[in-house]
Symmetry: C2
Subunit: 708 residues, 2 copies
């Protein structure tokens, strides 16, 4: 598709403003969707030609009807198909033959209904590819564009023009969102119901909206992303230009079933999505409320440059609620400059609070709000303002809304309205909204919007570094993996796993395989006492569970006893396991034990885990995840993210661990699993971190099934 890639992207423009639209399945029956869609196109102000297609009638809504799209005498760009599912493939083929660029398939009854539907949907995808058609749907509500304008959907309402673009996998959600948006005056640029995504998906639309001058912020409701990597790549480019806010619902079980180790059981798909959004700079909303609140804040207001906020309020209680919220959100009350305090003291009554939150008192009229808000906005320490208003006896609601609106335009700082109540404040809220100051009637929502802004600001300020590239012995890794496959296995033995990670420069203690206790003693004497013995078997994953590890063996006798004991226990607990002997290993000085793991997420590929070793990962679930490739910055962030991070930095007499060494090992693991995609699971556990350096004591590694 690379040769026609640009062409295919250009064709997406057709969904915004096509030159001519056919409605295949246009109907005279007002109860039918085919009627509603045609009517919507005609009443939405669309300036192009519209062609009903319906072989059973001659005229629909005053327009001549054609038996087939091929009978239309003019050239045209787009068709909307709304006919029973069994007729859709033929209709689509005719669109292709007629030379259309794009089609919206409203009809349901495809992938969502079972095997037969999946086949029908695959047919649609194939026809689209064959004719170079871009297809939205099937099983969708349609597409609305407020700039063309055109309402090519069966949604009864057309939202206001605005600079928010919205896409949703769920059509039903679109109807609820539109209903809300129309009532609250939320404006959109593009509004797309994606449906089953037989062709156009989230990534395709994102890429298009990246350069869309009418779109300042992208909102997306996402249920699943089959091509997760493509989404990340595209979303990352878009996020660098404009905020992308997503609400992700559902978590598949597939991800966690695919792997069975610690990493896998902790990873699941939820962690992968979290990591994906993080990598892509996508701001994740937790509810429908969030996504639209944040969308409005981004669309209407300049970005929050630093997390220092002033609160102006005529009510103490809500001011405290907002303050609580700011602190919980990691934002801060700005400390006002002395001159600001002076201005406030001179202008406000004696009982007013002239520090932050600035309390203009319950009897404040618009003038006091004006004075306080202006003083706050002019204070260089203040980077954003929340204006709280409760409807008290003397409150001048609309006047205050007007002056807040006026001031909002004059400073490059975000202002969020928090006019609380409903009936009385409605007129004020409408003034704010009309003037592009978002109003949220409770302090927590105002704070949440500023928090989203600050999250995005922090993403923007991250340098987009490339991951480091390390020297590695790729041939050695390939040789080991080939051998394992030749042996009919998917799980590597410890010695093999050690070989793989050693080839990528990850430090390991000296270690050799002993098949007999005499051999073990000989190796131990070579390495130097004390040593550790570990069962060597490709079938035994959790060595300590069966007592397969003996530590701190100080002499030949210790080694002989340990060897025999390990053999006895292994045979007793796992009589069918293939036993190679024991590894004799140099004892490593104690240090902090951490885990670096990797599992393969079906949507997003290699997912790396980091946590404090052993039981603290399992019990406290204190872990961080990132998707590959991992930069030095991301690796450092992972380490910082776990709650136990201060333990590594050294607290209360504990030694500082070599965090830089861990950072490098995480990056090396990332590089390894990227260069060998056949690795589906890897655990370095424990990785012992010292004051200087880190050393891997144990490693486990599995590769994927493959046709050979």
């Amino acid at each position: 598709m690379s040769s026609s890639g640009n062409d295919m992207t250009d064709k997406l423009e057709v969904f915004d403003c096509p030159d001519g639209v056919a409605v295949i399945g246009a109907s005279r029956d007002p109860e039918k969707l085919g009627h509603g869609i045609l009517s919507n196109i005609l009443t939405s102000g669309y300036q192009g030609n519209v062609y009903p297609v319906n072989p059973k009638t001659e005229e629909v809504l005053g327009l001549p009807s054609y038996p087939s799209v091929k009978d239309i005498p003019d050239a045209l760009d787009l068709a909307v198909i709304v006919i029973p599912e069994r007729f859709v493939p033929d209709a689509l083929r005719e669109c292709g033959e007629k030379g259309l660029k794009a089609v919206i398939v409203i009809t349901a009854g495809f992938g969502e209904t079972g095997v037969e539907g999946v086949h029908r949907e695959q047919e649609i995808t194939a026809i689209a590819r064959e004719y170079g058609l871009r297809v939205i749907g099937p099983n969708c509500l349609g597409v609305i564009d407020t700039f063309c304008p055109i309402n090519a959907s069966f949604a009864a309402s057309m939202p206001d023009q605005g600079n928010i673009a919205f896409m949703s996998q769920s059509g039903a959600l679109c109807t609820a969102v539109l209903d809300l948006a129309v009532a609250e005056g939320i404006g959109f640029s593009r509004f797309v119901s994606l449906g089953n995504k037989a062709d156009v998906d989230e990534a395709a639309l994102l890429l298009k909206w990246k350069d869309d001058e009418h779109t300042a912020v992208v909102l997306a409701y996402i249920e699943g992303l089959p091509d997760g990597r493509e989404f990340i790549n595209v979303a990352r480019q878009v996020s660098a230009r404009k905020p992308v806010v997503a609400l992700k619902s559902g978590t598949t079980e597939a991800g966690s079933k695919a792997v069975s180790s610690h990493t896998g059981s902790l990873a699941g798909s939820e962690h992968a999505y979290e990591a994906a959004f993080q990598k892509a700079g996508v701001i994740r909303a937790e509810s429908l409320r969030d996504i639209f609140d944040w969308g409005l804040a981004f669309a209407y207001q300049p970005l929050l440059e630093e997390p220092y906020i002033a609160i102006v309020t005529n009510a103490g209680g809500p001011g405290i609620l907002a303050t609580d919220g700011l602190e919980r959100a990691g934002l801060h009350l700005a400390q006002l400059e002395a001159t600001t305090v002076q201005t406030l003291r001179e202008g406000l009554p004696g009982a007013a609070n002239v520090y932050n939150p600035i309390d203009v008192l319950g009897d404040a009229g618009a003038d006091r709000y004006a004075l306080a808000l202006k003083a706050a906005l002019e204070d260089p320490k203040v980077k954003g303002v929340i204006v709280i208003l409760t409807p008290q006896v003397m409150t001048e609601i609309t006047e205050t809304a007007t002056l807040v609106s006026d001031l909002a335009g004059q400073y490059e700082k975000p202002i969020i309205g928090c006019f609380m109540g409903e009936a009385k404040i409605r007129a004020g809220a409408e003034i704010l909204n009309r003037n592009r100051v978002p109003n949220f009637p409770s302090p927590d929502r105002a704070v949440s919007a500023l928090q989203a802004m600050w999250d995005y600001r922090q993403f923007l300020s991250q340098p987009q570094a490339e991951p480091d590239e390390f020297d590695a012995n790729r041939e050695e890794v390939q040789r080991i993996l080939n051998e394992v496959r030749a042996d009919g296995r998917l799980t590597l033995g410890e010695a093999e796993a050690r070989g793989v990670i050693a080839a990528y420069g990850i430090p390991l203690p000296e270690s050799r395989l002993a098949r007999t206790s005499e051999e073990a003693i000989e190796i131990a004497e070579n390495i130097g006492f004390p040593v550790a013995l570990k069962i060597a078997s490709p079938d035994i994953l959790h060595k300590s569970d069966i007592g397969g590890i003996r530590l701190d063996l100080k002499n030949a006798n210790d080694v002989r006893d340990a060897f025999d004991l390990i053999m006895y226990r292994s045979l007793k607990h796992m009589p069918d396991a293939e036993i190679w002997g024991t590894l004799v290993q140099e004892m490593v000085d104690p240090g902090k034990e951490v885990i670096v793991g990797m599992s393969h997420d079906p949507q997003f590929g290699p997912l790396i885990l980091f946590g404090l070793g052993g039981i603290y990962v399992e019990v406290l679930k204190d872990v961080a995840f990132r998707l590959t490739p991992i930069t030095e910055r991301e690796a450092a962030a992972m380490i910082n993210e776990i709650r136990a991070a201060p333990l590594l930095r050294g607290v209360r007499g504990e030694k500082r661990s070599d965090v830089k060494a861990i950072t490098e090992i995480i990056q090396r693991v990332s590089q390894l699993v990227m260069e060998f995609p056949e690795i589906v699971e890897l655990d370095i556990n424990p990785l012992v971190v010292h004051n200087e350096g880190a050393i891997a004591l144990d490693a486990r590694l599995s590769i994927d099934q493959r046709d050979s």
Copy 2:
């Protein structure tokens, strides 16, 4: 006040429906509050006599005006005072002399304005006590009662009648809430603006509302609770009868400043409030939205008896969002009975999902909702239902609302509406609301309401056990504390602290004080090697920080070296500390180290902390708090609550710790600090827990300053 206690509580009834009301400060000027309040009383449907009091006029709003309340010819119950603050005390005194039962002081300018105001407020409290008057305010909005009915406030709107009682410390918040309530049709029984709480506070109102037949649920906005213990006692009684939902704002710094140990720095007032609400069964809301959503759910619907929910929806996406929400909230999708699935399969189209969430499909009319909702409600596995509706083309919004309302009355299971959107669904939402089915337009809010219900249900099912009482040597504790005071100290030395906790039956290793290294050796030989040495000084709290602890000393030489080293280090790091010598202590077998601590919260008294010992409390902040007295059940819950709890229960080869022994020690500490309120800080750290038993290795203890 005990003799007149009942009388004082009876007098609170006057605020609901007084027999005669005077408005002191009634005004002819429509701009004045004294006008608005009189007008509100007259137009609210109040049936009793109303008397304007204003010496400067003869008539207000058609009623004769009196120079003073004492000039009113009839007996009356209540006065509302709205005159400048300097005249308030005299007016209040006149009310007392006239024999009124209760007064609402609207006037501001008291405790909230500084020292002078505090004195004026104290005067008010004193006058109230002197005359046995109950006073609401000063600095409040007033009181509304929809059953009397009477609107004795300056709020312009009167809410609908309902069974929600609301109290708020913030008057401004009341105005916003009323505005919202009037617009959304939320009904109240009582609506009280508490103001500065010179007399009537949260606990007084709660106690009154406990038996109020018109009140099914109590909502409270709280900024501070000076008498925290009284609040807990009362709220606990009320919670046992009806839900109490509170929104607490602000956290004072006073709490965390008062104490300086680990416990103190972690405790703060936030933890104390959390523990207080938990003990009292008060359901804590995080936002204004929560408090009213939950209030409506409790007021309108029967309680959720078990956490198994069915979702009925015409849209897949919102169904998934609701499912996500349920799982995150600790609720579960009910697994439908086979007969239910059969009924759904027969009644719904083939493409419908007949499992849970039940998807009736986008083209569902009211009949399909009826069938699905009835089937869900009749399923014994289903304990509550969320009905999601998105406004699609075929959706019968008002018909569906009507049938949901009809079915809601027929089953003892909560039903929450989730009609999504705004303009189109408004009529449906109003039908639901009118029929006492709460409607929340997003799935997360519907889930949140059910979660609050389930939290409350769990509180109700807890047996209200008394704490165990343990034998203790109180005389010994008193003797030690007296000695410490006699010595001019507030901090106990380790030997003293050991003495105190030993007197309450908490196990300790054998340990004796050595003043010289020779004495240390002699004691060690008596106890038996190995031993530990610890610096003994009332001035050194963090012994390990200065190297004041040496462990595992195996012989006389070790002991001598350790003694000398500890002395050297102590003198070096803290040359001014009083040094008593070292404690020579029996070495205790290693086990899990935990902390049991206590700090004194200024509002709520002794606050007990439990956590895994040492660094994990400080770094991972993995701790649980409870207020005394602590029952066995509460102590067990504390242990279970920390994230690391599985480590104590024994996982992956770790030994099981004696949780019952910790439970008992927590209770013994609770009893100790209750019986000796002069103890303001206590830390047992570490408490070493073995497979059987637990033993305290170190204890710290401080007592309060006291006039002697």
